[in-house]
């Protein structure tokens, strides 16, 4: 009996595969053994079932014998299941009425005793007959696609992904939490391995994004919540009040001049100051001022109100409110980037105590022509040009005991760059790098590092520094050179720590909202480390840039483009097809215990609080069957792999 209560007419086709099967399994006997098995209408064997004539034979026999289901006993289903599904479909049979009995990889190729192998083949085929007897005809689940993407994070990865998707012709919403797009790359001075100026290559992209007709730029916005599923997400977005109307602001800067509130400047990594009303950096996009409410004296005119008074074009509006709005999108690219591990984790290097012990990004700002020192290397404490700079690699990385176990991948390169740029700026200075290994896996990377050593005479010392401390204005570094076996002590005017890259601060919160998987270190997890590196395990989410793990700019951009291409794949489909072998619920049997809800890895099951039964979102269900195994009442049965099917198959295998 099949799922519809009708009697089935099954055809069994046993393949010889030349001698591959037939030399061990007596295929004729297998076909014979099945002839009179309940449900089997017709049984035969043939030399090459997947060949033209083989396929034709199946087609003809289906018509001739009026078959409604087919078993092909041949090679593994991974090889030819699709082929034979096409054949039966041509004959007008639903592809879910075809099953493959694997008698080659799992029988004739692994056994040599003909008797036993033949008996095993019979059992295998019978078990598939039992399965097909209860198979239902299924149609793939179809849903529409909203051809509009959300990109979260406006660093180089987000910009590249947004531009590529928009160039494919789809609309993009780009959400950036900060007042400007640009991310960390816009803070960099010059970039390895070519030493081109970061701002020079970044600014045109930022402008392009802001002008692209298909991109809606939402800076100073954050994602509140995401619901729905691939192709059909609903996203709530929160607009944070900027208190300045970008369309009216003329960038005159008058407000900034009168603002009495001086705070440390994030863009310059706290090495300089800005006002409470500010533009993060001159090339910021959108080009507008932002009033930073956390540092403003208060928006009431009695508290201050100076900026509003001087603003001629009336761009400042103290009454602006936070807004939350909802948008529909079909795909989401997560490109929220990274942060640096904070130096207070490393008490032995002074924590945050010493002004002249800097992290890599701080040193980028010092090197940058647009930075607080105008590109002249000066140390923060007294503005002197440092003559001895010590760089320490692997700070907080590769430390399974106290910090982060992974290699941050780019710090070897940026340290070489730092030492090199320092030498270019201060030719009579000395640059010393303490390292454990120098990792330069990238095109033209090792040549770059060797240039630092050979041309710029940067001294590389192999050994991890134990301690950095200051006495008076001398900074002392305790290291070791493991190559000569000497413990070394060095005096430095400035120390730069290659702090490890870590997941974005507060990133967990967003990821919880998105419900997407991360690895043990908080980086986004890819669906497959080699074959699906830019997709999340959760359908419809794509990964770009350092949110997925430490990366340099070339790799970030490549991944962003790949993510955009994947979004393009998704949007190119007329509708989304989803495997129908899911686990629905039989509401009559469901007791509402909710056990299945807790085992589902995809959140596909939800308890209906009123009806006290579970509801299943067929699109989210990936058909793993974990819930079916967990359900105590039999209400959760997997399509075409029900408990009864499994029981019948087991019985056929053991009794057959």
């Amino acid at each position: 009996m099949n799922g519809n209560g009708k009697k089935k007419k099954i055809g069994v086709f046993v393949c010889h595969c030349g001698v591959n099967i037939a030399s061990v399994v007596d295929v004729e006997r297998v076909a014979k053994a099945l002839e009179n098995y309940p449900g089997v209408e017709f049984s035969t064997n043939y030399v090459y079932m997947c060949s033209e004539p083989g396929q034709k034979m199946i087609l003809e026999k289906i018509k001739e014998q009026k078959l409604d289901s087919v078993i092909v006993a041949a090679c593994s289903p991974t090889l030819h299941e699709k082929t034979f599904q096409n054949v039966v479909e041509l004959a007008g049979i639903n592809p879910y009425q075809l099953e493959i009995a694997n008698i080659r990889e799992q029988d004739s190729w692994v056994h040599s005793d003909k008797e036993k192998a033949t008996a095993k083949a019979v059992k295998i085929v019978k078990s598939m007959v039992e399965k097909v007897l209860q198979n239902e005809s299924l149609e793939p689940i179809r849903v529409g696609v909203t051809r509009r993407a959300l990109v979260i994070g406006g660093g180089i990865s987000g910009l590249q992904a947004a531009l590529d998707i928009a160039d494919h012709g789809y609309e993009v919403l780009l959400v950036e939490k900060g007042p400007s797009i640009g991310g960390h790359m816009i803070q960099l001075s010059e970039t390895f391995p070519t030493l081109d100026c970061s701002q020079c290559i970044m600014t045109p992209k930022m402008v392009e994004v802001s002008r692209h007709p298909k991109i809606r730029l939402l800076t100073y916005h954050e994602v509140e919540s995401v619901s729905g599923f691939v192709g059909n997400f609903k996203v709530k977005i929160r607009k944070k009040p900027r208190y300045v109307n970008p369309d009216l602001c003329t960038l005159c800067g008058d407000c900034e001049k009168v603002c009495p509130q001086i705070v440390s400047d994030e863009f310059n990594m706290g090495l300089s100051f800005r006002k409470a009303i500010y533009m993060p950096f001159p090339q910021a996009v959108p080009g507008t001022y932002t009033l930073d409410i956390d540092n403003c004296l208060g928006l009431l005119p009695i508290r201050c109100g100076k900026c509003k008074d001087v603003c001629e074009p009336k761009a400042i509006n103290y009454d602006e409110q936070e807004e939350i709005f909802e948008e529909e999108v079909g795909a989401i690219v997560v490109s929220t980037g990274y942060d640096l591990y904070t130096m207070d984790h490393l008490g032995e290097y002074g924590g945050e105590r010493y002004e002249d012990v800097l992290n890599g990004l701080e040193f980028e700002r010092i090197l940058s022509a647009s930075g607080p020192t105008g590109g002249v290397v000066r140390r923060p404490s007294d503005g002197k040009v440092p003559k001895n700079v010590v760089f320490i690699q692997c700070c907080g990385s590769r430390d399974t005991e106290n910090h982060n176990p992974y290699c941050s991948k780019i710090c070897c390169m940026y340290t070489a760059k730092h030492a090199m740029l320092y030498k270019h700026r201060v030719p009579d200075g000395h640059a010393t790098v303490f390292y454990i290994d120098v990792r330069t896996g990238g095109k033209a990377f090792d040549e770059f590092y060797q240039r630092a050593v050979e041309e710029d005479h940067v001294l590389y010392i192999r050994g991890k520094v134990s301690k950095v401390f200051q006495e008076g204005d001398r900074i002392i570094v305790w290291g070791v050179d493991t190559l000569t076996g000497k413990k070394v002590e060095m005096e430095a005017d400035m120390v730069v720590l290659a702090m490890s890259m870590v997941k974005t601060e507060g990133g967990e919160e967003l990821l919880k909202k998105l419900k997407i998987a991360t690895d043990a270190n908080g980086w986004l997890a890819e669906a497959h480390p080699k074959l699906r590196p830019v997709e999340s395990l959760n359908a419809g989410f794509f990964l770009a840039g350092c949110a997925h793990g430490p990366k340099d700019i070339p790799e970030t951009v490549a991944q962003a483009s790949a993510a955009a291409a994947k979004v393009g794949d998704l949007f190119a489909q007329k509708e989304l097809l989803h495997e129908p072998t899911i686990v629905p619920v039989n509401e009559e049997l469901c007791s509402g215990c909710g056990i299945c809800v807790t085992v589902c890895p995809y959140g596909a099951r939800e308890l209906d609080p009123i009806k006290k039964v579970v509801k299943v979102n067929e699109i989210l269900c990936e058909g793993c069957g974990a819930c079916a195994a967990a359900c105590p009442s039999g209400a959760a049965q997997q399509k075409n792999q029900t408990d009864n099917q499994i029981f019948s198959m087991v019985k056929a295998i053991l009794k057959g």
Binding site: G347, E348, E471
Partner: protein, 310 residues
């Protein structure tokens, strides 16, 4: 209030003035320090290999005695004793098998009944109920700085004191530390709260030479020299510490340091409870300041002029 206190051999036999200071100071704060009866040396060094596990028997006996006397905690001031007792406790707690093996050693002990003073061979196990605390921890977490402050009788504000942790209070990390090994604060907090001006210096957690001062005195004196030099360079009048071994290396051995390092000018060393006792108004005689190699009294006289009356 009675509080179990393990002084350790050195404080008991050699540097008794440090022990006296501790008792006097704690008395002001309302605590009577009682020693577990018949205590022995803790062994000074925690055995670092599994084969030397017998070394855990002595410290376990001390803990068991505290337990038998109904104590739930024991405080120490010597960093070495603290290190051994605390690690023994943790090791037994972590490893039930080890705990069993040590209890088996203790099985052969002869017990002296505290009432009748009779010897019995009744065996008592140690049940892991005693909490090992350094006095500095006890002051911070159990007494509270506010209470200490309310008892202060002398103003130490003129004293620039550098806190010296050494190794045994902070390391091994994760096993013993009374604070984060490379970013500790508890000693500074203690000194601040008893009114000293705290001087930070980068050698506060460097080793003074420890027992190497016996086997290779020059190596140890160089280590000690660096500590004292740095504290002086950073502006300290004196060094405060919490270990009689460090005290020996840093005070008594200054003669040797002077012989080797001509720029060395000397530096007074005080035990942290001596400073506490001073702040709490304890009679100076109790502190045995005359027993120091480097006489701290001239520097201390700076503070004498500023008595607080309350």
């Amino acid at each position: 209030m009675k509080l179990h206190y393990y002084p350790g051999c050195t404080l008991k036999e050699k540097t008794t003035n440090l022990d006296d200071s501790t008792r006097a100071a704690m008395e002001v704060l309302g605590y009577e320090l009682v020693e577990p009866e018949n205590w022995t040396c803790c062994g000074a060094e925690f055995p670092l290999t599994e084969e030397k596990i017998v070394g855990l028997a002595a410290p376990t006996r001390i803990l068991r005695q505290v337990e038998l006397e109904g104590g739930d905690k024991v405080v120490t001031t010597c960093a070495f004793c603290f290190n051994v007792l605390k690690r023994t406790n943790e090791a037994l707690l972590k490893d039930p098998l080890k705990h069993k093996r040590i209890n088996a050693y203790l099985r052969d002990d002869i017990k002296i009944d505290p009432l009748t003073k009779k010897k019995t061979t009744d065996f008592a196990e140690y049940h892991e109920t005693v909490w090992v605390l350094h006095l500095m921890e006890f002051i911070k977490y159990q007494i509270g700085y506010d209470k200490v402050k309310s008892h202060i009788k002398r103003d130490l504000a003129n004293l620039k004191v550098a806190p010296y942790y050494g190794c045994r209070l902070l390391r091994p990390a994760g096993e013993v530390g009374i604070d984060i090994p490379d970013d500790p604060h508890i000693f500074e907090e203690f000194l601040e709260n008893i009114g000293c001006e705290v001087v930070d210096f980068p050698f506060k957690q460097e080793c003074c030479g420890s027992y190497i001062s016996v086997s290779l005195p020059d190596a140890a004196s160089e280590a000690s020299y660096q500590i004292l030099r740095s504290a002086r360079y950073c502006g300290a009048d004196m060094l405060a510490l919490s270990c009689p071994l460090c005290y020996y290396n840093l005070d008594r051995r200054q003669d040797r340091i002077k012989e080797r390092f001509f720029d060395f000018t000397g530096m007074p060393i005080l035990f942290f409870t001596q400073l506490l006792a001073l702040a709490l108004g304890v009679d100076e005689k109790v502190l045995g300041l005359d027993q120091h190699y480097y006489d701290p009294r001239p520097v201390l006289s700076k503070m004498h002029k500023t008595e607080v009356v309350s």
